[in-house]
């Protein structure tokens, strides 16, 4: 089965610019997650979708971050405007049977804000 696809792999932007990341989960996986991994730290959940509905976005900085999963399949995460502290790897993951069976992560998008 195809894995979780993410693009772009790398992105460098200046602070105050906007950026968008795209994720296509494994076919049939209803649950989709976006994680932020800052260098030297573990992944931190930003938002969780179940189909096209938001389950948990309590850790999403909503003043600058937004995410959508309009048709319940692929998803986009946007940052506008970006800050230096947003430099991180943004990981998308999807799950079929629930978190306890493990989710499948994409390779991530490495964002550098300069």
């Amino acid at each position: 089965e195809a894995g979780v696809a993410q693009s772009p792999r790398y992105k460098i932007i200046e602070k105050r610019q906007s950026v968008a990341f795209w994720c296509n989960p494994i076919s049939g996986h209803a649950t989709l997650y976006w994680y932020q991994q800052i260098l030297g730290q573990g992944p931190k959940l930003l938002i969780q979708f179940q189909n096209n509905g938001v389950v948990d976005d309590s850790q999403l900085p909503k003043d600058r971050f937004s995410a959508e999963r309009l048709k319940g399949v692929d998803s986009t995460l946007k940052i506008q405007p970006a800050k230096l502290e947003d430099s991180a790897v943004y990981l998308c993951a999807s799950s079929l049977r629930g978190a306890n069976y493990g989710y499948t992560f994409g390779s991530g998008t490495r964002l550098t804000v300069v």
Partner: protein, 110 residues
């Protein structure tokens, strides 16, 4: 608040020996615990999990032990191989979400 902690940033072991990675947690509501392995420039990959009602789960060279009273779990890799060199993350599952520790970098020397 850090609900999952991996207090050892790095670990170095000799090929063929045992690697023991440790993890502590504070959230009593975790139903499952999972270990992930991450190579550079790749996403984390699922390694092994354990239910909170069990104290041991084994899969080949990998065994996870859970001590609920101490809120501690560990991952044992026996025997360790150079290909096991990676960052290992411990995670707890709570209401469908995974909460990760900071990771431990394992280096297995030939």
């Amino acid at each position: 608040d850090q609900q999952v902690k991996q207090n050892s940033p790095s670990l170095s072991v000799q090929e063929g020996r045992i690697s023991i990675l440790n993890c502590d947690y504070t959230n009593s509501m975790f139903d499952y615990f999972l270990w992930y392995k991450k190579y550079p420039a790749e996403g984390p990959t699922f390694l092994i999990s354990i239910s909170s009602i069990k104290d041991k789960n084994e899969d080949g060279r990998f065994t996870v032990f859970l001590n609920k009273s101490a809120k501690h779990l560990s991952l044992h890799i026996v025997p360790s191989q150079p290909g096991d060199s990676a960052v290992y993350f411990c995670a707890g599952e709570d209401t469908g979400k995974l909460i990760f520790g900071q990771g431990t970098t394992l280096q297995v020397k030939p």
